[in-house]
Symmetry: C2
Subunit: 412 residues, 2 copies
């Protein structure tokens, strides 16, 4: 059997008979000749043949002579071909996959994802996402982190209480984990530095362009920090690794050596002297624009979010306990990452829960971790689909999710 050659490698084989395989991207029957463009994971290969072309999206194997042709994709084409059908397309695709731009609407794309994502421009988004995750891991592996895999089924809906999916767990009530927060903190006690790439679940009752019921969270948690600024430095390192991993495939962004940072209280002044405890999406866009203008940066840290809007495990700002040692990272107008320093002393956890009027019993196994000696630590979570959406500047997070799950969508 002649070994398979990828479309992108064709020009290196001029004068040889080779085998390519892929999908019929386009067939064009002219008077005396038929052009069949075959698409594989590397690109397109033109086959010069005669007679009728197979239906688009039919899977074929083609052996032929590689012949130079400056007008063909990659400068070479296959002539004198023998075409074998491996898998017939019995239904036409929902829109023309061969056109350079995608003509379909988002609902059409999502309803027909397995076929629609074959379009090279749509497929590329997920190659960029995969490269980003590889860059994230490489960056964190490089600073001594250990990758972990934690339970997605948990006994109590403790972290935020709302927006959790309930499960029937062998006749008991359980929940889908909204984040690996408690587990990754516990594992700082074992490995010091950990990360996890995995699904998290939010029963988001809102139908927006930036929320999903399941998304991929790139979580990290780091021990022996001085404060949240060490976490921000690790995050900057991770983001730089992600950008480096997609370099050459996506224009920009530049990751400043030191990402500009503004305290929440300062941000309130910029926003017209307000005194809110959170930022609205419009505020995030305003601040992002400000950072671009004032600092030439597409990234902006907003630090010191009010404790009132942060979870109980958040470390308060020393000397100013209305605020916290936490941050969000804004990227091109959107909150991309949330993170910060956590409490690490058992007594501080008990006090924090008491202050919020919550019972420590509900958090027993979590609190146990801190009774056994924990270092100062903190971490962050990057939403992968948000990252890719902002990186590629597409409007809806569903455009960077293979099979989105939301209030209305549970298939395909």
């Amino acid at each position: 059997m002649i070994a398979r050659v990828l479309a992108a490698e064709l020009a290196a084989h001029i004068g040889e008979r080779v085998r390519v395989a892929g999908w019929v991207h386009r067939g064009r029957e002219l008077k005396s000749v038929t052009f069949v463009v075959v698409r594989d994971r590397s690109g397109l290969a033109q086959v010069v043949t005669s007679g009728p072309a197979p239906a688009e999206e039919t899977v074929v194997e083609v052996t032929g002579l590689v012949t130079a042709n400056p007008k063909a994709p990659g400068g070479a084409e296959l002539t004198s071909p023998v075409v074998t059908v491996l898998g017939e397309a019995v239904v036409p695709p929902p829109f023309d996959l061969y056109r350079p731009t995608v003509s379909a609407t988002l609902p059409t794309i999502l309803d027909h994802a397995p076929v629609a994502l074959r379009h090279p421009a749509l497929r590329a988004r997920f190659e960029i996402a995969a490269a980003s995750v590889a860059g994230f891991r490489r960056a964190l592996d490089g600073i001594g982190c250990t990758e972990i895999h934690t339970p997605k089924i948990v006994a109590s809906a403790t972290e935020s209480g709302a927006n959790v999916f309930g499960i029937d767990y062998f006749g008991r009530r359980a929940f889908l984990a909204q984040s690996p927060q408690f587990f990754k903190q516990a594992m700082v006690g074992v490995f010091e530095r950990v990360y996890e790439v995995g699904p998290v679940f939010r029963a988001e009752p809102h139908d927006t362009a930036r929320h999903l019921a399941q998304y991929t969270s790139l979580d990290a948690e780091i021990g022996f920090i001085a404060d949240h600024r060490d976490v921000m430095a690790v995050l900057r390192h991770a983001i730089a690794g992600m950008v480096e991993a997609v370099a050459g495939r996506v224009p920009g962004p530049e990751v400043p050596v030191e990402i500009p940072s503004i305290h929440f209280a300062e941000a309130q002044k910029l926003l017209g002297g307000r005194d809110e405890i959170d930022l609205a999406p419009a505020d995030e866009r305003f601040l992002s624009e400000w950072a671009r203008r004032e600092h030439g940066s597409e990234f902006l840290f907003v630090t010191g979010y009010p404790m009132a809007k942060r979870p109980f495990y958040t470390h308060p700002e020393p000397g100013n306990p209305r605020y916290s040692n936490s941050f969000d990272l804004l990227f091109r107008g959107l909150e991309l990452v949330t993170g910060g320093q956590r409490l690490h002393r058992h007594a501080d956890y008990l006090a924090a829960l008491a202050e919020r009027g919550e019972s420590p019993e509900a958090y027993q196994s979590y609190l146990d971790v801190f009774a056994h000696g924990m270092p100062p630590h903190g971490g962050f979570a990057i939403g992968l689909e948000r990252w890719t959406a902002r990186l590629l500047e597409v409007a809806n997070i569903r455009q960077t999710t293979l099979f989105p799950r939301d209030l209305h969508r549970l298939t395909p």
Copy 2:
């Protein structure tokens, strides 16, 4: 601030004052001197001090003079130290973490996982697991695979029907995915070669040493194969990558260039001329032992499993449709991997469902994939926790799971 030095690096800093940080692994108060052994992610550092030692598992930062001492771990110790407590241990650990062997029972370890796993011998298992996953990814990245992230919430419990967890999904009934099978096949149509590392969920009603309600599945699916033997070659490549990634940390196993293989029908003869349609755990142990004896291999492929025991999407064996183009990989007596060639033609899927008396409507979005042209393809799924358990030769899969979930266990 003096930059932190890891315990394992101490000997490279003799004569310098450095800062180490970690957990009080052990304190020993002698008449005139106190030894405090500090544990960090790299190893142990001995601190020579006086007076009472902090409670074990207290987190400390120690600055001191690095002094050569052949009796200390790594050949160096810290003298003239200043010890600062960063996080107090207010409860003693459930068993002595400083003893070389683990004295606790498995239930004690699991109940107190966040503390118990700090024991270096227990922690090491998960470092081995993390390295294995990195090796898996590296091997598959090297042959042009794309990493994907697929939904864990699905609309129907189609793949096997049984053992699924139900979810309340915005008032609708949904299920936790038992595998990414349908999604990874669909994505062969987009990327040709894909893998996913993620959680899968099985509502296993049995309490065994080798089943969990959630485990980490290393899934791959490869397009443009000739048959299942190409999938076996990719699996061998992945396993070799995993072994390479843990080399030097775990003895063996050797991965033969060609892993020995036995057809299911032949295996039945070896097992005494039986005519069953599946292998029992004892059969797997017998065959594994046979492969070790006859082929000097700790790995054995069993191919051709009867169609009756394989899912409807399995490709039958050409010319012998009682059997299938599928395989299991046995490793040290246990089924570690299941895989095979899948059907790829739309008509074949319709026929397979009809033969099993199942309605195509239940599989609509899955079947759509094959109506749009799919190449011959196949794949496999490796259970990470099983892999690590067999690699380290521990008896129970819970010993290689950070926080196991099973019939009885939902915390910590």
